[in-house]
Amino acid sequence: MKKTLLISALALTTGFTQLASANEHAAPQAQAWTLQQWHQTQNNIPNGNISKGAELHKQALCMTCHGENGVAPSRNAPSLAGNNIDYTFKTLKDYQSGLRNEGHGKSAVMIAAAQSLTQQDMADLAYFYAEQTLQSKAPAQALSSSTERLVRKGDVKRMITPCASCHGVHGEGNEITPALAGQTAHYFIRTMKAYKIKHRTNDINQGMGQFTHDLTDEEIHALADYYASLSK
């Protein structure tokens, strides 16, 4: 996989400018973020153009997997609609650099999809997704007491901070903390397990990783169902 990145940097120099110009950030930067580096990048996120983002969503093939307006068509891909600009931007950068690479075909194809995105493209897409709304497809859930505790109170014994303290009381997220409301349950479970076994390590200071170590599969499934039932 790592080899792919090097070779694609070469291919980009042939310059297809119709959709994306050669990208100055295509070189591998698969090093973990420091908070400072992220803040610097965050401050320099270009202003996104929503209608360009909408067009790119189609032409760059994002739509065929992530659905119309970024609402996932099935259990396979995550929904992107309604997520926060900073989170989407950072995630696309992480795919481009290879920092986010869970080691299966699903992340490999995202790495490929991100290769020819410019900073401006990423911003256009991020602004576009942030503008969309995501209606829950799952029926409303009666929250079990143990899930509610994890979401609102956490679990001191296992050093689990309440999810809501970062992801918001309605799962709406904030800046680089992603929205979880309405997220595809299958994807939610897949990515939580990837954090748990350290296959997903692109989070700053491995913040998310820490909360997943001690969660059981049952807890992860219950959390996935709960968040899937929220709308944003």
Binding site: A11, A112, S116
Partner: protein, 432 residues
């Protein structure tokens, strides 16, 4: 509760081959009246037949006859030639077919069919009785189409590498040892041959590699055709990446019209001579010979001309309705000779056999082919072909859509990744 004795087993399988490892799946306890499906070849077509037969029918006895202990996939072997994948990752064994799908594996070569007695003879002397025989032994190569070339040379210093294995590694090592500024000659055969885009994929991979390690070296494709699949995409790629059409081009394609058809190999001077008398010198010479049906097919009267004809409804041979032909040996034009096709033909044959055994109608066959080919690790292209049934004595009717040289980089990148994913899903669909 019935104990099965050795004598019962001999009765069941109608053979004395128990000692040769016939009982690979040791816990088999079949009803003695169940049909015996025997398969010649444990490659793509044969293995897919075994697995999909079992998915349909828990009763039948299934036996694969295959001389090799393992199977090495061809898709992905061009990557090995250019040294960015290994043969190990393309190699599968038959353990899952044995243990999960209760398939018997006999490590031997099938030699002769006794059509009247419905028996199959094997090289080591064993004889198997079959109710249905599925034949998928892959192609044989016409080495003598190029004067001076031979099987021995292919297994020596002039690898064809058109069946993944030792020759693939010899070719890889020769490319790695190519002198600075050296020349690689690749011949591309007349149609039909297995995997139509693969010679051009191979040429591209080699040129890509040379670009970094040996930038003044050159790849020349000497073609026995004037056109090939994905022609426009490959030419576009070669122009953009390897200066095709300029004096310093790293890759050159010489069509049949322009004198590309090779007739003669001179091993001493390492040259190839073409039909119009041109002589090309190569530091590495990779002759991809023209093909014909495997020798088992030709020796048993299953072929007419180079390939074996069949009834379109169920792929039973014209020679015998209980003997089926699939894969590269079949006269399946307009279907290309690909693994994808071989595996889908296997899915049709097994449905036909299952329908017949259970007294049902076979139904209308339907087959697709999807080729996901590469020019580079991040430059992919696809073709989707559909084959509709048009009558038992007629060839299937084809329609297709394929990639053109797109300006959209997302197509190329994402299709390239899908191609790599496909190699894995394809292997899993057949052997897991």
């Amino acid at each position: 509760m019935n104990k099965i004795t050795r004598r019962d087993l001999i009765k069941l399988f109608g053979t004395t081959a128990l000692s040769t490892g016939l009982m690979g799946a040791s816990s088999l306890a079949f009803a003695s009246k169940s049909a015996h499906i025997v398969i010649v070849g444990g490659g793509v077509g044969g293995a897919a037949s075994a697995k999909y037969m079992r998915l349909l029918n828990p009763d039948v006895r299934i036996t694969i006859v295959e001389p090799e202990p393992k199977y090495i996939f061809c898709p992905g072997s061009n990557e090995v030639v250019a040294d960015f994948d290994t043969l190990e990752s393309l190699t599968v064994d038959f353990n899952t077919l044995k243990s999960r799908y209760a398939v018997n594996i006999i490590q031997d070569r099938a030699t002769e069919i006794d059509y009247a007695a419905k028996k199959l003879k094997l090289a080591k002397g064993d004889v198997l009785s079959y109710d249905k025989l599925i034949v998928s032994p892959g192609p044989d190569f016409k080495y003598d189409a190029v004067e001076g070339f031979s099987k021995q040379l292919a297994e020596g210093n002039f690898p064809a590498a058109w069946h993944a294995g030792p020759q693939t590694l010899v070719l890889r090592d020769q490319i790695n040892a190519l002198p600075q500024g050296g020349t690689v000659l690749i011949t591309s055969p007349v149609d039909p041959y297995r995997c139509p885009p693969a010679p051009y994929e191979r040429a591209s991979f080699i040129a890509n590699k040379l670009k970094t390690v040996n930038p003044t070296a050159k790849v020349i494709i000497l073609d026995s055709k004037d056109d090939f699949i994905f022609h426009d995409v490959y030419l576009d790629y070669w122009e953009k990446m390897h200066g095709l059409g300029t004096p310093d081009a790293r890759i050159e394609w010489i069509s049949k019209k322009s004198g590309g058809h090779v007739t003669k190999l001179d091993t001493k001077n390492r040259t190839l001579t073409t039909a119009n008398g041109q002589v090309h010198k190569g530091d590495v010479i990779n002759i991809i010979p023209p093909e014909m049906a495997g020798s088992f097919v030709r020796m048993n009267g299953l072929s007419e001309g180079d390939w074996a004809p069949f009834n379109s409804k169920d792929f039973s041979t014209k020679r015998d309705k209980d003997v089926y032909i699939i894969g590269d040996s079949a006269a399946a034009d307009p279907m290309p000779k690909t693994g994808y096709i071989a595996s889908n033909q296997a899915k049709v044959v097994t449905k036909a056999i299952h329908a017949e055994l259970t007294g049902k109608d076979i139904g209308t066959p339907f087959i697709t082919n999807n080729c996901v080919a590469l020019a580079a690790d991040d430059w992919g292209m696809t073709v989707a072909e559909t084959f509709r049934y048009a009558g038992n004595n007629k060839p299937f009717e084809e329609s297709y859509i394929m990639s053109d040289p797109t300006k959209n980089p997302f197509y190329r990148h994402i299709r390239a990744e899908v191609a790599k994913n496909w190699q894995r899903t394809f292997r899993k669909d057949i052997y897991s």
